[in-house]
Symmetry: C2
Subunit: 210 residues, 2 copies
DNA sequence: TGTTGTATAATTGTATACAATAATACAGGA
DNA sequence: TCCTGTATTATTGTATACAATTATACAACA
């Protein structure tokens, strides 16, 4: 039994990041450490660590006034898609070149689960599996640089995908597009994987509700 | 007199980042907080903050064994150029659209200084001004997303540019390329700015010594 | 009314003591 | 010799007291 003990600071970071990205804390809202200490039931130290990391991601800004929630603006969203449109295809191409059989099975499982939940109209799980599929590709690209660059961009899009995953037609198109990407990667066809990914990001962009 | 008091944590962060990127701390080396406390003459708190931020940039990795220096590998370098080749042109294009007269003057000054130091074969200052030119363009793109994405990539390349700035021929080519980028931006010609930047990144990539 | 100086309060910044965890060294036995 | 369990040590994780800075409220004055 290997219990990887996850630190309080990491837990706070994940919870806080999620709360910012899902709108629990609104853009422009001003928090402070003691409020977060009270909300989360831990001391200032892990709170500060999490806040500083989120500040580096431009999700928060710390000043003497307090901790301002920056979150993700509509312009940020546009810029994120503009970037992803140009580089996410590269990650898919690299994954097609480098992926192992084991990793391929992991990717397939994420895809199958997404299809399953799409069939059941389970928006929450669809969104999770959709994210997982993309994040696995970042990992399997075999490039820490790609991973570190794309992951924060992808995470910030979360909140805005609510509408599209609840749209059954778009949800099943998304599954099909993932399917195409998966097949290209499984065939180790880098060019096709790249093209399929670019197409998918373009479609996702067009279905975003700001 | 406005003295923006910069925190110890920020100072430690900058110094540590620089020391990792310039090789003062070698890749694979294992540090620990107390050693850094001794080296830097501050308490654990600001050291920890800096270390955690650097961990998030994948320059360090913290475990029970200590603080491992990850730094930037040859593969990282390749991947960074691959990404920059695809997105740095976009930043230049945005800058061409959005830049103000004041900002343009700032960019011009960085360019002129780089030319001045190139003439004097002052490698240290060439490098600094070269970096500054690129970072100003990230800022003037008007996109926090572009800035946050490109800046860490750019910073990581520093160490590997030593050879190219010391090569007089390359140093003056670089100035000319920056000149072309500047002129396109000054003319608010987005397409030309993008093309000039892509060309420049490609040339820089070809002159990197790994 | 507006502005400027000043006292107060709120907030983050820093240092440090203590806790928890994991790595290491080493002894004992198969 | 190799493995395994265990004590020790080294390291990071957490809480908290105190310092420094900045924002804020308000009074005095022009």
């Amino acid at each position: 039994m290997e219990h990887k003990s996850i630190s309080l600071a990491d837990q706070v970071f994940e919870r806080l990041e999620n709360d910012i990205l899902t709108g629990v804390y609104a853009r422009g809202e001003i928090l402070n450490e003691m409020k977060l200490v009270a909300d989360l039931g831990v001391s200032r130290t892990p709170v500060r660590e999490a806040v500083k990391r989120l500040e580096q991601e431009s999700l928060l800004e710390v000043s003497a006034k307090g901790i301002t929630v920056l979150g993700v603006s509509a312009k940020d969203l546009q810029d994120i898609y503009e970037l992803r449109l140009h580089i996410e295809g590269l990650a898919a191409a690299e994954a097609a070149k480098n992926i192992t059989e084991e990793e391929l099975a992991e990717l397939k499982e994420a895809l199958d689960l997404q299809a399953y939940y799409a069939e059941k109209h389970d928006a929450g799980h669809i969104k999770y599996m959709d994210s997982r599929f993309h994040q696995l590709i970042y990992r399997f690209s075999g490039s820490r640089v790609f991973y570190d660059t794309l992951l924060p961009l992808h995470k910030k899009v979360q909140k805005f995908r609510g509408a599209s995953v609840e749209n059954h037609s778009r949800a099943s198109s998304s599954v099909q597009e993932h399917q195409a990407i998966y097949e290209a990667i499984a065939a180790h066809d880098a060019d096709r994987a790249e093209a399929a990914m670019v197409l998918h990001v373009q479609n996702a962009k067009n279905h975003i509700k700001v």
